[in-house]
Subunit: 159 residues, 2 copies
Amino acid sequence: MPSTPGAPFADSLPFLLSQVGARSAQLFAERLAPLGVTPRAYAVLSRLTGSPGPNQQQLADALGIHRNNMVGLIDELEAAGWVQRHRSKQDRRSFALRLTAGGRAVVSRVDDVLPGLSDEVGRGLTAPDRATLIGLLKQLAHALDLTAGVHPSLRLPAR
Amino acid sequence: MPSTPGAPFADSLPFLLSQVGARSAQLFAERLAPLGVTPRAYAVLSRLTGSPGPNQQQLADALGIHRNNMVGLIDELEAAGWVQRHRSKQDRRSFALRLTAGGRAVVSRVDDVLPGLSDEVGRGLTAPDRATLIGLLKQLAHALDLTAGVHPSLRLPAR
DNA sequence: TATTGTTATACTCTATAACTATA
DNA sequence: TATAGTTATAGAGTATAACAATA
């Protein structure tokens, strides 16, 4: 059976990528939820693991989130005790964002959960096939001008 | 270089699938927009190309859209002249949904655009590699219990 | 005059409940 | 009593504009 009757798109590369990718994103969100973290929040937290604390504008630019929305996001992370705002001494308009010990612990806990997600998502494939798939996806990501570690949905919604 | 510094997830299968899949969904939506069609609307229209006109409840169940939201969706498609509601004579509570000639024309126009999208999304890969990738994605879709032609985001949002 | 962070507003989507007409 | 369709409401998420403090 070559294709679903009346659905020529169902076996196309764009649809399959979008379909499997969306399911993968759902499973990712479900694994994060018990830890009290949203995918957006994890994107921010994992960006702050580097040493030079960026300000909100820089972080927003790097992730493709609008700076207006970054305010509330940092508010939540600060309320959770995972991030701190430190007034920059070079430029007193901006805050240097720094992960707290608790924030680092959350990132670490999420990273511990990710291998289980990889196994769940890739359970239909042999180990060599998984490696092949990852290689092909990296080629696609590069050809589509995607930045490593930056999710396009943070920038633009699909629908 | 094995992985992005400070971003262990960036090269993982779940993230790459979600990242490339989300970009693919954006490109799909951008191709549809000039035709006045949203991905949701196309999902509905392409489901109605079959001969036995389903009612709204059946269509909602098949696509994973809530029947409450199906009302407004069908309203728009009817206002655009692409779908008609016909009172069922067997069960006068329900409507048999039927594509109009205009509706069939829109589906046809979208289907004409899809090959171009496939080329754009897959431009980073050789033809054999594209075929390999499609095969691997189908295996994943099957292992993840995804239904052919049904997009998971219609059922549940990722974020 | 430009930039960082902030707030307010409106608009879109979605989730839930409740209503009507039929069965 | 259950089901198909509908409507209303509230809640999340996002986009836009405007503001205060600082450069």
